[in-house]
Symmetry: C2
Subunit: 206 residues, 2 copies
DNA sequence: AATTTCAGACCGACCGTCGGTCTATTTATT
DNA sequence: AATAAATAGACCGACGGTCGGTCTGAAATT
């Protein structure tokens, strides 16, 4: 039996199922055949929409990044938040290392190394410009002072993204909270922000 | 024709050739058959020494880490260096992101994602304890002040390792130098060290 | 209104490659 | 001679990807 659908509908079906499979079994262990079974299509159909399994991964990550970027843009525009608070919001919006939230980070490392790497690269490349504008605001208002605004952002994004990845490092609840505290404290320090301006309550990270 | 060798000799032969293949073609694209051809052994021999291709990768990385750790221990012991200078030495000893130096970082990302991830995890896990001792020295002498010594080390290691990976990000010569400056500046700042104590001459990074 | 044409969605058999297994055989050790 | 260690390479199954072709609905032609 043959079911024909609109291009974008089918494409998104594939993306949705692939995404959840990647989350559950990891990218490596997810077979193209797994995806076919889930979406109920034939091999040919899959390769009609994507030219490789990796391209599906790219598309999945892209979709996630698009959402994150939009959220970040919204936060940037707000006038009721101080620059520091905006940065906190943007970072929390990434929901780094939190299972079942976005696309990223499940299971043990070998399965998801590629997904992890592509995610970091994407986040750093695309989120840095927006965050840089926020930091510049902060510099203009005198909230921040730093000789390396852009580099500071990149450092904090990579470190945060990698260290909170449960597939790479494991920690107790306390270690995790302490790490997150340290990350925000470091951001604050490197930006030369007022002490305490990057403090977040525990409720916000769990 | 059949050539028999001592266990460790053969094992290291495999490791050596695998390592250079990983560097040249990347881990993913390097076939077990490639390794066999290079070492001139049969499949059975390979799997007599290693139970999987991934185990070879682990062994290669482990060898690299062993060397880095030894260097770090040596630096730690020295009495002619200030803590800050010791940390610089340890980090430069990693030769992060430098092609053809250690095992790590060649080519484009997808091929080496796993290698990269395992390297970071290994470096962070095994190097942090040693660097922590050095930082503690610095705290004792009053050179450093920080509420998060261990976390600071981890942040700087992951950021440095990832951002200088030419397989993930590309930069011009100037961008690269500026990034490295920023990394050392950040380390200095987060450790609360005296300004300029982490300054390095350009000669030392090229 | 009936028929032809066309494009794009879809199908699944097939292929080459690759990591890994199995068992036989040779070499070293005692 | 017996045993263990090392080597060999034919073989296997799974996987990503290809290819030739089919189905369907809508536009164009008659």
């Amino acid at each position: 039996m043959r079911i024909s659908k609109e291009h974008d509908v089918r494409r998104n079906e594939i993306l949705d199922k692939a995404e959840s499979l990647f989350e559950v079994k990891g990218y490596n262990k997810t077979t193209v055949n797994d995806i076919l079974r889930e979406v109920n299509i034939a091999k040919g159909t899959f390769y009609y929409y994507f030219k490789s399994k990796e391209e599906v991964l790219d598309a999945v990550i892209d979709r996630y990044l698009e959402i994150a970027l939009e959220r970040a843009e919204d936060v940037k525009k707000r006038t009721d938040l101080a620059p520091a608070e905006k940065l906190i919001q943007v970072i929390l919006g990434l929901r780094m290392g939190e299972p079942n939230s976005g696309v990223i980070e499940e299971l043990h490392s070998p399965e998801n190394a590629l997904m992890h790497q592509k995610s970091i690269a994407g986040v750093v490349l695309r989120l840095t410009p927006i965050m840089k504008e926020i930091v510049n605001e902060g510099i203009a208002t005198g909230d921040f002072t730093t000789p390396f605004p852009e580099e500071t952002i990149k450092i904090m994004l990579t470190a945060g993204f990698t260290l909170t990845d449960e597939g790479m490092f494991s920690f107790t609840q306390e270690e995790r909270q302490r790490l997150i505290q340290a990350l925000f404290y470091s951001f604050e320090t490197l930006l030369g922000a007022k002490k305490g301006s990057f403090d977040i309550g525990f409720e916000r990270i769990n």
